[in-house]
Symmetry: C2
Subunit: 151 residues, 2 copies
DNA sequence: ATGGGACCTCTAGCGACTGGAGGTTCAAGC
DNA sequence: GCTTGAACCTCCAGTCGCTAGAGGTCCCAT
């Protein structure tokens, strides 16, 4: 019992790349582990658990600050879990906003793509729609709400 | 006719910030305009049109390389617009992939959030689900397909 | 003893901007 | 003509969540 894990072991066990694990450490998400005489990182079970936690939360799309909050909460069992609820609901709301925006985009894009029947670029309706700036700039709340977020 | 527009005029007309316009110029998306004696940028109608084009394409979520391609196409009317079709359909496919992933996330997250009835963090089911790394790391295609994309 | 894979640190880069510092120019009002 | 102050200029750093590479060291099996 209590034998240590290399960073590679941890990477294989969790599916998080070694470089990313080191980055988590630098960011303070994962505590710095013990080192071997030669300077290699030597992890224990607690690290494995914590890294798994981080990975799950990332998979669910939680942003880094939210993950910090959840980790903090997880290590203080006497606190109220209302915080966790709040973080989770905020994340759901964020996802819903992105879904609405993406669905709107998809609809408009499909309409645009359907419009053009092929031929020379000079008559392409896709290009025409894009070039038409008569619409003025967009102020509708759907776009404003999500902003530019790497859609 | 032919009076020039300042970068601020262009920004107001298109809704693209002045800093972003300068950045587009540095990236080669927008040709460098004439300058006043004092060095201020002096744009013409062509710039306005091109910037509007870029903005529309960004609003529809096209990535930068796709926009370059579309701009290139738009300035060569004799070419085949099949390229534009291809770019648009690829963009729709990308959006669909993101939608599927987001919908899956939303479902799982809602399930997780609903599970916990409140109380102390030590018994919080949200935290428990996140901490449970017994699932091993995720290899299902839905997650693999989209990767980490700022969801 | 040696080979080669895993590990180390440090730095830079991704996409698509955004913000700030520190300085110059323009246009309107007096 | 002069003053003000808003708008403009360039350059650099930061955003988010990693990822990749250079250049070197360590560990372990043969």
């Amino acid at each position: 019992m209590g034998q240590t894990l290399s960073i590679g072991d941890l990477a294989r066990a969790t599916g998080v790349k070694a470089t990313t694990i080191r980055w988590y450490e630098a960011e303070g998400l994962l505590p710095a582990p013990a080192r071997t005489e030669g300077g290699h990182r030597a992890y224990g079970e607690a690290h494995l658990g914590r890294l798994g936690f981080i990975r799950h939360a990332r998979e669910l799309g939680f942003p880094m600050p939210a993950i910090r909050e959840l980790l903090d909460l997880a290590s203080h069992p006497e606190r109220d879990c209302a915080t966790a609820h709040g973080v989770a609901t905020a994340q759901i709301a964020a996802i819903d906003a992105k879904l609405r925006r993406l669905q709107a985009l998809r609809g408009e894009l499909a309409r645009v793509a359907e419009a053009c029947g092929g031929g020379r670029a000079g008559e392409c309706l896709i290009l025409e729609v894009l070039a038409d700036h008569q619409h003025g700039h967009c102020t509708d709340p759907l776009h404003a709400e999500a902003g530019r977020e790497g859609v």
